[in-house]
């Protein structure tokens, strides 16, 4: 029996399509870009937005999110000036900063002083000039990516070539819009053959901006190249934050990812990673700190397409109040990807009776000579350990702090030592301190 289905659009979807049709010609870029925008938006026109019955979007309810507010170009909300930039986002780290306010570059691409070997161009120009030449997973049909492709207004294309010392570049996204606004940016990073580089991504708010942010990265780590990619999201809770990373690795390439997610009322970090060469490796480390009323959705999909590649995924969560963490991890091993070593582990600590940690680790294995493992744990702080620490004079607050730091810092210490790790440690420390202050205020 054939059942005819009709896709009935909701008011939110209709408003979204109308909004796109209204602004598409006013958005930056030429006719090729408009074609690319239409192509990306095609997924939304055809399928609408996913409802909560769509597994991947069960916890990020795009229909509800766009129902409340149709897209508004961030530029309309008014871009600020460079004077508004926070003073030191990565203290002690020698780096070049490329800053965006409400999705728009604060200075023309190329004008920032860049390290030797790094070439920077506006994303929209680079995308039209070279097409999508890099290797990274398509993730076609993902609605957040479709919205990014349709509405993107700015971004950078970084090409990182050989240099005497390893370049470190920070991409800073600052939200300041006090009126409802969508900030949509797309970046491309290419790390050339044999080159080692570090990219830091920082998401911050000034005040309580009412921003819906959608940032996407297209990353190509070429043969024998190594990229360390660290993102730290500390938005105000008034912000809704989506970030998508699509990364492809060439032969023997290495990608080291760290994602510290501690802000935004609702956030979703999507990493789609594919191996396009043999013997490559990726390590993903994520810390989600979720306070009362926040939701942090983490979606990781690793595609083992070729032989001898390793992937590791370590995810740690601390959730408090009515905070909710979601982890959806998928390792796919294709028939040609023999000798794959794929591992993922998610561990959660719930600090209140109402906090939630939802974990969905998945393996799809089509090759027969592979090693894959996944695991998930969740629990509370161990009262026996707290009592032991307190019996030595350490107060409850410090005892909890010691245990939570131990749980979280293990992932940072595993990532490495130095100024970048120190910044991550102190951000975690600040969150733990703030959590106590908030809980004390609530109790008072």
């Amino acid at each position: 029996m054939t059942v005819a289905t009709a896709n009935i659009r909701t008011a939110a979807e209709t408003a979204l399509i109308e909004a796109f049709d209204d602004v598409k010609t006013a958005l930056p870029g030429g006719s090729e870009r408009l074609f690319a925008r239409e192509a990306a938006f095609g997924a939304i026109r055809a399928n609408g937005l996913p409802n909560r019955r769509v597994e991947a979007y069960k916890y990020t309810d795009l229909k509800a999110l766009y129902g409340r507010q149709a897209p508004v170009d961030g530029a309309i909300a008014g871009a600020g000036s460079a004077a508004a930039l926070p003073p030191d986002t990565w203290s002690g780290v020698d780096r070049s900063v490329i800053a965006f306010e409400n999705g728009r570059a604060l200075m023309p691409a190329g004008s920032a002083s860049l390290p030797e070997g790094v070439v920077c161009a506006p994303y929209l120009e680079a995308a039209e000039a070279t097409g999508f030449a890099g290797d990274y997973p398509a993730a076609n049909g993902d609605p957040i990516l479709a919205l990014n492709g349709a509405f993107t207004t700015d971004g950078v294309a970084l090409t990182i070539g050989a240099a005497a010392s390893e370049p470190v570049v920070e991409i800073l996204h600052l939200s300041t819009a006090s009126a409802p606004a969508d900030t949509v940016a797309t970046h491309r990073i290419r790390v050339e053959t044999g080159v080692k580089a570090t990219v830091l991504v920082t998401y911050l708010s000034d005040g309580e901006p009412v921003t819906r942010e959608n940032v996407a990265f297209e990353v190509d780590v070429e043969r024998d190249a190594e990229l360390t990619f660290v993102s730290r999201q500390q938005h105000a809770e008034s912000v809704t934050h989506f970030a998508t990373l699509r990364a492809g690795l060439g032969e023997r390439a290495k990608l080291d990812l760290f994602n510290l997610c501690m802000g935004a009322g609702q956030s979703r970090q999507q990493n789609f990673i594919g191996f396009f060469g043999e013997t490559a490796s990726v390590v993903q480390r994520t810390i989600s700190l979720v306070g009362d009323g926040q939701q942090a959705d983490v979606v990781h999909a690793i595609d083992h397409r070729l032989m001898n590649c390793d992937s590791k995924d370590f995810h740690r969560v601390v959730a408090d109040g009515r905070g909710r963490s979601v982890y959806q991890g998928l390792i796919t091993v294709r028939p040609d990807a023999q000798h794959t070593d794929g591992r993922m582990m998610t561990k959660s600590l719930l600090l209140s009776d109402e906090a939630e940690a939802i974990a969905k680790p998945e393996l799809e294995i089509f090759a027969d000579d592979v090693q894959c493992a996944h695991g998930a744990t969740s629990g509370q702080l161990d009262e026996t350990q707290i009592f032991y620490l307190m019996s030595r004079g350490i107060g409850r607050r410090e005892a909890e702090h010691l245990l939570l730091s131990a749980f979280l810092n293990e992932v940072i210490e595993d990532f490495g030592e130095g100024a970048i790790a120190d910044n991550l440690l102190s951000a975690v420390d600040d969150w733990l301190e703030r959590r106590w202050s908030l809980n004390e205020e609530a109790a008072a």
Binding site: L389, S391, A399, L402, A406
Partner: protein, 249 residues
């Protein structure tokens, strides 16, 4: 120093201690002996302030301070120390980090500033050397993967660094070989002083050969049924608990 009057303690709604009276003066060492299930560990946890040990009646003071009004950390900074029978493993918290946090908590309670790192290192090195606690043990996660002997030596090291007024040793001899027992006992004896008291909880007389008590109490079914000098321990070793418990019943 320690004054316990008519202490009743419930665990999971069941009365375990049924009226303990105990007075320990400064400078004294009291041993509490008794068969399994007599309430020895309950007494130590109730004194240390562990959750789930409900005091239904009675009072406990340490140098006049009402301990029952204080949480576990406040009891510790008031001068109480419990050496655990089974020290808790805490992965990820380095032993040194923990020792420093504990010492600074005591200093803060006394209104002193935090100890400087060189002074702390000097103090730990001096105390650790005497107890054969290696640098490796100090760097590792607290009690994690320590052998039974290492855990107990680490307990005594904490005691030596925190210098409490009252030390309760809960079956510190369990799981120790003879050499380790001697080392631990030496550590304890070194700390004996006219202004410090000890309560040593044990099943066996053997520990009391090394840490000689002034007073021995026998605990049975939640009550102290007999009190005597150190010779009481020898009598117990010879006759066993059963005869004594039956006589008391």
């Amino acid at each position: 120093m320690l004054n316990i009057k008519n202490l009743h303690v419930d665990v999971d709604g069941k009365e375990i201690l049924r009226g303990i009276d105990l007075e320990v003066k400064a400078g004294e060492v009291h041993a509490i002996m008794g068969p399994n299930g007599s309430g020895k560990s309950t007494l130590s946890y109730a004194l240390a302030g562990r959750d789930g040990y409900e005091i239904t009646e009675g009072s406990v003071t340490l140098d006049g301070t009402d301990l029952l009004d204080l949480d576990a950390s406040e009891r510790a900074t008031a001068g109480m120390f419990l050496a655990f029978q089974y020290p808790t493993e805490i992965p990820g918290v380095a032993n040194m980090t923990f020792l420093k946090a504990a010492l600074n908590a005591h200093r803060k309670a006394r209104g002193e500033g935090e100890i400087s790192t060189p002074d702390f290192m000097r103090l730990v090195r001096e105390k650790a050397g005497a107890l054969d606690v290696s640098n490796d043990m100090l760097k590792r996660s607290l009690n994690t993967g320590f052998s039974g002997g290492e855990k107990k030596r680490n307990e005594i090291l904490q005691m030596a660094i925190l210098e409490p007024k009252l030390c309760i040793l809960d079956e510190t001899d369990s799981g120790l070989d003879i050499d380790a027992l001697r080392l631990v006992a030496e550590g304890v004896n070194k700390m004996r002083s006219p202004d410090r008291a000890f309560v040593v909880i044990t099943h066996y007389q053997r520990l009391l050969d090394y840490i000689v008590p002034d007073v021995v109490h026998v605990l049975s079914r939640g009550r102290i049924i007999r009190t005597g000098g150190k010779e009481l321990a020898l009598e117990l070793e010879e006759k066993g608990y059963t005869a004594l418990v039956e006589n008391a019943a």
